[in-house]
Symmetry: C2
Subunit: 200 residues, 2 copies
């Protein structure tokens, strides 16, 4: 991971931090709705209710605000999942709680997929950093659970990517495209497979 993908240098004052956050919020709405190419800095500052010159105090370009937005959405999603699994007593309980929280998060925030998936084309390094950070945290959790004997032994890096891919596609199919689907029921079905496998 390069220096440019590290934690951003946040403004020193609270007011500065609020303005930066307001720009990222506006960028999420504008780029989520219009796509990266069609979105403009003028549109983002109008949405944020700030002067266009103010944008450049915090970001250099549309590319940079997009990259920060992708990484910020990753941090937000990981925090949300970490909170959801914090009260669980085993890895399999955590898988259930984490998947349900993720699917609910996706349903409530449809711009997540629009923006992160567009990063594949706009900023591949940010896209890979987004999923790489997820997979790394996921594999660490699987390692910790394995050390406690809570999981069948196996390669945790590969499992992390496999489980993440499952969540990603289920989120798209059921949380995003099918607003009436029963997410708890889906999680029950998926967890049965994750826990017991498909062998009869």
């Amino acid at each position: 991971m390069t220096a440019s993908l590290a934690e951003p240098n946040l403004p020193k004052t609270k007011r500065g931090q609020q303005t930066r956050a307001a720009i990222l919020d506006a960028a999420e709405r504008v780029i989520g709705a219009e796509g990266f190419s069609a979105a403009s800095i003028a549109g983002i500052t109008r949405e944020a209710g700030i002067a266009q010159g103010t944008f450049y105090i915090y970001f250099e370009s549309k590319e940079q605000v997009f990259r920060e937005l992708v990484l910020e959405m990753g941090r937000l999603t990981r925090e949300n999942l970490a909170a959801a699994v914090s009260g669980t007593n085993s890895r399999l309980e955590a898988e259930r709680a984490g998947l349900l929280a993720f699917l609910n998060f996706v349903r409530g925030r449809p711009s997540l997929y629009s923006i992160v998936e567009e990063a594949r084309f706009v900023d591949l390094e940010a896209y890979r950093a987004y999923f790489g950070a997820f997979a790394q945290a996921y594999a660490q959790n699987l390692d910790a659970a394995s050390a406690k004997g809570q999981l069948r032994p196996g390669n945790t890096e590969i499992r992390a990517w496999a489980l993440m891919g499952m969540a990603k596609t289920l989120g798209e199919r059921f949380a995003l495209w099918d607003p009436d689907s029963d997410l708890e029921g889906i999680v029950d079905d998926v967890l049965d497979m994750i826990e017991h496998g498909l062998a009869p």
Copy 2:
């Protein structure tokens, strides 16, 4: 699925079919390398070695050739997987053969992801049709195996999307981004999880 996503009306003559296929091949290379927005019909016809007017005998627009390309790549991928699993004797053997064939296919054809994932933004209906057709065929195979007692009972539609999501993300991470990774070893690890689950 709308009429426009049905099997295309293929040209009647063999020569016409070859020209249409040459345009799709060229579109795959040009759009795969440059992206949909930057690619032009002039660039595609130059790559195909045909006059620009010839393009319009077969396709109405860049949007239409892109849609046909996405659906054609879906048919090709499904045919490739169907061939790979045709000699297997159980669903779990078929899962192994199918996943390995898919990962090898992705490694040999990096434009698959560039094009299909860009469809999410260029032609969401084609993107959904691509994965919908996959999931439908997958669920039918799981149903048939369940009827023979080869699988633990469960919701085959949800399982199909979950397994597809796993393959998609593993393909991106290991086949596409990591050209030296050992795909057979990865399939062994994933199949252990698919077969037996994560419970100790």
